[in-house]
Subunit: 189 residues, 2 copies
């Protein structure tokens, strides 16, 4: 019988594509086996179980997203950097909704610590270097930015902003303007 050349890495990548096509919730061991032209139990040589598979896809997506963010941030500062980082998240979610959903998959504390998650918060912190915040305000701002990015993208993806004027892109741009203004003039405690 011909070998399909499966590896945990390749399964994570194929799983990510499957997620974009069907939705992350539809990424099942069976569906992935079908896509790889292999019987279901064969996957168990490469991933421990369904949970492990999802975790690998999540880690893959987090890494890919962090790489995109790092590239977008290079050579930018201030509002320019803020918008660039924000757009990376929004564009990724729109182009790869399944992978974006995967990146929200709950990880164990150990897995989260070893993931690209810390890179994401470091990059948000880097954006804040363009503004004049010191701890603990910087941490509060990191959390606020993360909340707006994830919240907006996730509501937009769920269709919460569709079918009503004005265009959600316009709201996105105004939200980023507002965040920039806010960070430049962060309210004292």
């Amino acid at each position: 019988m011909a070998r399909a050349g499966l590896t945990p890495e390749r399964l994570a990548q194929e799983g990510a594509e499957l997620a974009d096509e069907l939705g992350f919730d539809e990424v099942t061991v069976s569906a992935l086996a079908r896509r790889c032209g292999v019987k279901v139990p064969s996957l168990y040589s490469h991933v421990r179980n369904s949970q492990d598979l999802r975790t690998r896809i999540a880690l893959f997506a987090l890494e890919e997203l962090a790489d995109l963010a790092a590239a977008a941030l290079a050579g930018r500062a201030g509002k320019d950097a803020l918008v660039a980082l924000a757009d990376v998240y929004r564009d990724y979610a729109r182009e790869h909704p399944g992978r974006y959903a995967a990146s929200r998959f709950p990880l164990s504390p150990e897995a989260a610590a070893a993931s690209a998650g810390p890179r994401h918060s470091q990059m948000t912190r880097a954006v804040l270097r363009g503004y004049d915040l010191t701890e603990p305000d910087q941490t509060h701002a990191v959390r606020l930015l993360g909340s707006v990015f994830h919240g907006f993208v996730s509501l937009e993806l769920a269709g919460g902003f569709s079918h009503s004027a004005p265009d959600s892109r316009e709201s996105w741009s105004r939200a980023l303007d507002a965040l920039d203004a806010l960070l430049r003039n962060w309210p004292a405690n």
Copy 2:
């Protein structure tokens, strides 16, 4: 055979409790049947299928959450109202994580229109009456507030803010301060 007295409404409510106990993703027809002390197929006299069951739980949670928000908003205005509304969402998510997750369940456009969803945006608009915004800025602000509320609550629930100082409650309070400041001084286009 004794009648269990099942109704679609009661199933939605029991399902909501099950969601809080096990997580919304674990709310299955089988688990709900077990909880109600009946055989699985019995549920199909009351709900069309698993998707229908989840939808009913989502509608129940949206309604309950809207009722809580309406009660919290009564007699408040300005920042007071902003904080009250925001706290309703955060507290609900912390006390009823499964129901909160259910309230994010994707609804068909018709179901969404008939749900308590519109009440939620109306209440956010009502909060904005305490600030000086006109359309389309008001819509942009509604979307921004929704993004921050959902984004923060969802990241906090996923553990994104845990295990690191400062306390996430502090960040929440600072985020609301920031939003209030922002709305009082909304940047011109």
